[in-house]
Amino acid sequence: MIDNKTYSLKDIIKTGLLSGLIALSLSVIGFITLLNKRELVAGILSLGHVFLFSPLIAFAYLSAVRIKDEGKYKILGSGFLIGILTSIPLLILALIEHFYDIRQFLVNVSPDLMEILLFNQGIVAGSIILMLGMGLVGLLAAGLQTLPENIRGPITYALTWTLLIGTFSEILSGRLRSFFGPQFVKIIFVRKALNPLVAGILLLFFAGLEINTQKRKKRDDVKRPWKNLDPRIKNGLGMLLLLLLPLVLGTYLTEVVNNVGLYVLMGLGLNIVVGFAGLLDLGYVAFFAIGAYVMGILTTQGHLGFVSMSFWTALPFSVGAATLAGIMLGIPVLRMRGDYLAIVTLGFGEIIRILALSDMLKNQFGGAQGILQIPKPNIAGFDLVKPEFLFYVILLGVLLALFVSWRLRDSRLGRQWMAMREDEDVAEAMGINLVSTKLLAFATGAAFSGLAGAIFASKLTSIFPHSFNLIVSINVLCLIIVGGLGSLPGVVVGALILVGLPELLREFAEYRMLMYGALLIVMMLLMPEGFIPSEVSKRELHAHEIQD
């Protein structure tokens, strides 16, 4: 990367313009306008502002880190300059829009966006405010770097937590209302955003908390009561918490958690195929679809059904069909590697979707109308209709898949997979039977996905071919990469971040794939091992550092 010594005025100007272009892109694609609808602190700050200023804050801070030995004034000056430069592309946009209507080309350059950019002022006053505001924010971001750690820590900690609480205030206020009543909620939240006064108190509270922790750290008496606990008790407590989760979360959040759970299930399956065995499968949704369709056909009470099995009787058939499909796909692609495999599996996934959609199989699979009237799972004559009950079905599936993956990982088969991932030829030379090893990877992965599909069909009670497009495969791939390829906790974390967060922040839904795409690139560039790297990739990266 760029050397410290050569980081000059020219680089600062480049950084500033880059951050300005990113802010401009975020604005013209409508991201800022959309997020502006979510207020964090009532009347003061919205999520749109946070994202408008985030490239500036990041770049100003990073460039301050880079020149941290060059004196306070230079650092502050660079932050200010980057702020001014960031505002320039935005100002140009505002000026063009003011004199010439470009909304006929760029649909998202709306009057709302202009209001955000110009702070509800006229073009002249607004421009000056934007420029100076950005300069000031850049100055502050750079200035943060010059502060000593014991001041900087509490400030960032308090800001992060307050912003997080503000972001999720809609959900928080809903949950708090059901526990403490509407009166309490009215004090804290105004129009689903934080009351400014409360935000101030929160800031002080978190800053104090962090200062306290730092002091403790210095005296070395950080309280960790759970550290000495027996791991069995710890696991038991964790389990109990999980079982009680639906009671705490309420219907809506449980529904979100259920979706996350299904993606964890699929992620665990794909993790075996891609993470353990190194076979990049882009048609993974096909097995999900097969699981769902088999469940649908076997259980539906609509006109497509012919046996009307119960959920539990049909479940083994669903999983079995998906597993079989995994092997069937596996056989022709046994000799393919890497990118060819990716494209062929992608093609396979599309073939399954198009077939399900086609008129050819309409009498069997319902074509575009899908399969309706699929019953919910049923235990002892009691339909599990509410998401709170389905939660336990999904939890059971996830725990089973986690257990299987965990036991397989260190088994003989797991080690064979990893050997194959590293080098197929060497693995074969070591006596590993590539055919059965690969097919087992495909089959296990497909089985997990089929299970997820079966639960999915029963959960929605109707399935359509459109639910099984390529985007699902990409989502699953993204979440295991973000979590860390080959890492089991990584799958859970990845699903929480990539599936749970967008469900909570509905505004993101439209830009979900944009963020996924950017995330894939950024992760591969900065931390290819993911957030929770597996042991192997940790070791590999370490070895790499030593080699360098």
Binding site: P332, I343, V435, Y516, G517
Partner: protein, 353 residues
């Protein structure tokens, strides 16, 4: 190639059965269709010409895959998005306003030329940006890594342009001089199809000369052969790779304009499926080979347009045209199983494959 293990033989048996089943189905379907004879001969001729035009588009896009694969051994998954970006931008900023004001029909040649230039510029710009940000830093990483960033880049650009221009389908104005048919050797051909086929042939010939006869082309071929040795010979490898990306993207930009002329509508998702199809075409013809991409594109276009009517109709499948993508993907799988080096490709050595 020598036979290795007995379990590989089992695999061979399975693959042979697969081959026999599919070829059998194709032959049976074709014979049944020919006996039934549901369409007049003119329909077949029209279908074939539409297939050739479609195939020419695939060929132009496939060039981008082939060139990049030849140089970097990576599938540039985002290439379909380069194709989309150019024509979408040109449609919004030039074609639609000019269509409304009538400029395009008064000066069709100048108008189309400027639209093509803008389309190429945007395609190339997006391609170079992607290469610089998402591919270049990862050139030495394991091969799965750039493939994943390429998938990321593909989705990023799709939804970036969706945010920029909206998610609706945009109409491309109709050109008066390109409406109707012309007679070529007694066969009536849609004028747009004729334009597509002629321009694609010209572009492909031009590209072949560029890569084979010019000094820059020579440097691209040298880099494709061996990057390190090429660098030792005084070739700027980064520059050669940049030019490779730019050339592929320029072809995609032109293909975008031709696509808009034929189908008269553009949208943010239009690059994805043609991108995968063009990749299929590149593999079909032999990836890394320019004539291969042309031949592969042509064959794929023909298969897709003739296939549903010829193979599937005879098998008694209703609405076979819904399944034309299935034919393309099945063809891809078959080619990769039966002849991974493609029709014109050299056998890829193991380290490259």
């Amino acid at each position: 190639m020598q036979r290795r293990l007995k379990d590989i033989n089992f695999l061979d048996v399975v693959l042979w059965i697969l081959r026999a089943v599919i070829i059998g189905a194709v032959i049976w379907g074709s014979i049944a269709t020919i006996i039934e004879n549901p369409y007049p001969i003119n329909t077949w001729v029209e279908t074939i010409i539409a297939g050739v035009a479609q195939g020419s588009l695939y060929a132009l896009i496939a060039i981008g895959y082939t060139l990049v694969y030849g140089v970097l051994f990576m599938i540039n998954f985002a290439h379909g998005e380069f194709f989309m970006a150019g024509i979408l931008t040109a449609t919004i900023f030039l074609a639609q306003p000019w269509g409304k004001s009538g400029f395009l029909n008064q000066h069709p040649l100048i108008g189309l030329a400027i639209i093509t230039i803008l389309s190429i510029t945007i395609s190339v710009g997006i391609a170079l940006l992607t290469e610089r940000v998402a591919y270049r830093p990862l050139r030495k990483a394991p091969r799965l890594v750039p493939l994943i960033t390429a998938i990321g880049a593909s989705f990023f650009w799709q939804y970036f342009f969706r945010g920029l221009f909206g998610s609706d389908v945009k109409g491309f104005p109709q050109l008066e001089i390109l409406t109707g048919k012309i007679s070529v050797f007694g066969i009536l051909v849609l004028k747009t199809h004729a334009v597509v086929i002629v321009s694609a042939v010209l572009m492909l010939i031009g590209l072949y000369i560029f890569v084979m006869k010019t000094k820059v082309g020579k440097s691209i071929r040298a880099v494709a052969e061996d990057k390190d040795v090429a660098a030792l010979m005084g070739i700027d490898v980064d520059r050669a790779i940049t030019i490779t990306f730019a050339t592929g993207a320029a072809m995609a930009g032109i293909a975008g304009v031709l696509y808009a002329l034929v189908f008269r509508q553009v949208h943010f998702f239009m690059g994805f499926i043609p991108g995968i199809k063009a990749f299929t075409a590149a593999v079909l013809g032999g990836i890394g080979s320019i004539p291969g991409a042309a031949l592969g594109g042509l064959l794929l276009g023909m298969f897709e347009s003739v296939g549903p009517g010829l193979f599937l109709e005879g098998l008694g499948i209703p609405a076979p045209h819904q399944l034309k993508d299935v034919i393309a993907f099945t063809l891809l799988v078959l080619i990769l199983i039966l002849r991974p080096q493609g029709i014109l490709g050299e056998r890829i050595s193991k380290e490259k494959a």
